[in-house]
Symmetry: C2
Subunit: 305 residues, 2 copies
């Protein structure tokens, strides 16, 4: 049935205190697709690029068995571009420019063969478009949705219409506080789940992630990183690892959901080890499992005696 | 042999958005002693108070089997007082006043019977005094030390003399960054351990704690709290639960150290549920174990499949 991923594809120009890249492969759909490709295919990508989108990036996605039938390539159009600069502590970034280009008129069209997909990952795009994607699906059974402060502040009403239609919302801690108008994350989680998603994941960067599901709270550790080369795409890689594992396992129990959070954390930890999508390009399932085992070692303690 | 606790005793006047207390029992030695009292005795407390220190607080400590032979009561003296006000998000607090009073001339004298103690917990006091305590010990085998930004900024040289003499340093994340001049906590931990303590614990408040020991990194979750009534003493309660468990188990292996971090986290989570020391006054070892089990549930996930 496949896993459908909808989001942005872009060319990123990123500077960190350590290095700089220009027109590197970026975009939420890109990171999600690459991260989920290490679990089980097929991954269907729906997005939009301009004629200037480098062929080598197309090939890279295809080499990872990402099906691009749903990728709109606009003749004469320019690809979405974003440029950001990270500060020394890497938690703060300035957006230097955003050129929407062809992304401004993105109207996602889901190819017929993908409409039957049961697993859908809605990358961080306009909630109106997220809704349009769901309108085209025949029987989506497990929908994961990402969003950000930009939509929470600017398109709250539209976001509120999408939330009851998704199974999992993935946001970071500041977005959770903003969405719920509540500084305490545990209370914020309750409020957000009342908005629709029965499962909520709050990412806390260097402090790990929290999963809220049924009456379960699960606290996932963060991978201890001495060096973060480029934080771009970490959240999308998390989403990709998360849904990729669940699609592979076809098990939506709390125990499986916890494992999926760890796989998401693992993919995010790989992502930030190199610039752009570099670290996601040559992983293997074995290396992903090794990292999973490191998360186990990191957080496991015995029963009391 | 007993467990020796040295630190402050005080009368705290605390306001949070929810309530206010005046001249409540406070001080690092108080919280550490009460927290560790739920594990195994005897706990020897060394500290100083004035004649105005309420008898009921003496009785409270004695009821928890805290040995007060080392408590100096200064005739005609006034007890150390501190007043603080917490803001809405409880992570920010203003100190309204600090009256050192008898604490200004505190010169810790360790009673003969306590000098043989192998387990020592140095609460957050002047590092010069922490050194004086260690000078009086015959054969301290496991020394836990707390400190804070005030000493890191104001008495760095004295602190650097104490650090090689302690086995465990417990500090929070901002103190770790300050002490190491390094924003990345993993790198900061390495630098700090090079200053002396072979074991380092970094407390991260609502994000849990990190333990660094040998080549092990352990990430402990935070207990999910919907309501924090009074954060005062949480760090001291952590230290008390941590050393209390280790003293009881007499096992200093990494596995035991991880359990101790969870017991410390458990005691800290109890501490903030009520004002002042209230929540630490009527616990039981069974309730502590129940909470330990909740930490297990919160953080446990399976091997991958």
């Amino acid at each position: 049935m496949g896993l459908l991923v909808v989001g942005s594809l872009g060319l990123d120009t990123v500077a960190t205190p350590f290095d700089k890249v220009e027109d590197a492969l970026g975009g939420s759909a890109t990171y999600i697709s690459l991260a989920s490709s290490y679990f089980s295919g097929p991954v269907y990508l729906v997005g939009i690029v301009g004629e200037d989108f480098p062929k080598r990036y197309i090939k890279l996605l295809e080499d990872h068995h990402v099906d691009l039938e749903g990728l709109q390539v606009v003749e004469g159009g320019k690809t979405f571009r974003w440029s950001g600069k990270y500060h020394y502590d890497l938690n703060v970034r300035d957006t230097l420019f955003t050129e929407l280009n062809v992304f401004e008129n993105f109207d996602p069209v889901i190819p017929d063969k993908c409409r039957k997909a049961h697993f859908v990952c809605l990358g961080n795009i306009d909630p109106v478009l997220q809704g349009k994607v769901l309108d085209q699906m025949e029987n989506p059974q497990f929908v994961v949705c990402d969003t950000m402060n930009y939509w929470i502040e600017g398109k709250k009403d539209d976001l509120m219409k999408v939330l009851p239609r998704v199974n999992v919302l993935i946001i970071n801690d500041s977005e959770a506080r903003l969405l719920a108008h509540e500084p305490n994350l545990i209370k914020a989680a309750r409020k957000i789940r009342e908005m629709g998603p029965e499962i909520l994941i709050i990412k806390k960067g260097e402090h790990g992630a929290l999963l809220f599901m049924e009456d379960v709270i699960f606290s996932a550790p963060a991978y201890p990183m001495e060096m973060i080369y480029d934080p771009t795409g970490a959240g999308d890689s998390f989403a990709g690892g998360f849904i990729g594992y669940l699609y592979k396992s076809q098990d939506l129990s709390p125990a499986s959901m916890k494992r999926a959070v760890i796989y998401g954390s693992a993919l995010a930890s790989f992502c930030v080890e190199k610039f752009s999508t570099k670290a996601l390009e040559d992983l293997s399932y074995l290396r992903v499992q090794d990292r999973y085992r490191e998360f186990l070692t990191l957080s496991r303690f015995d029963e009391y005696d």
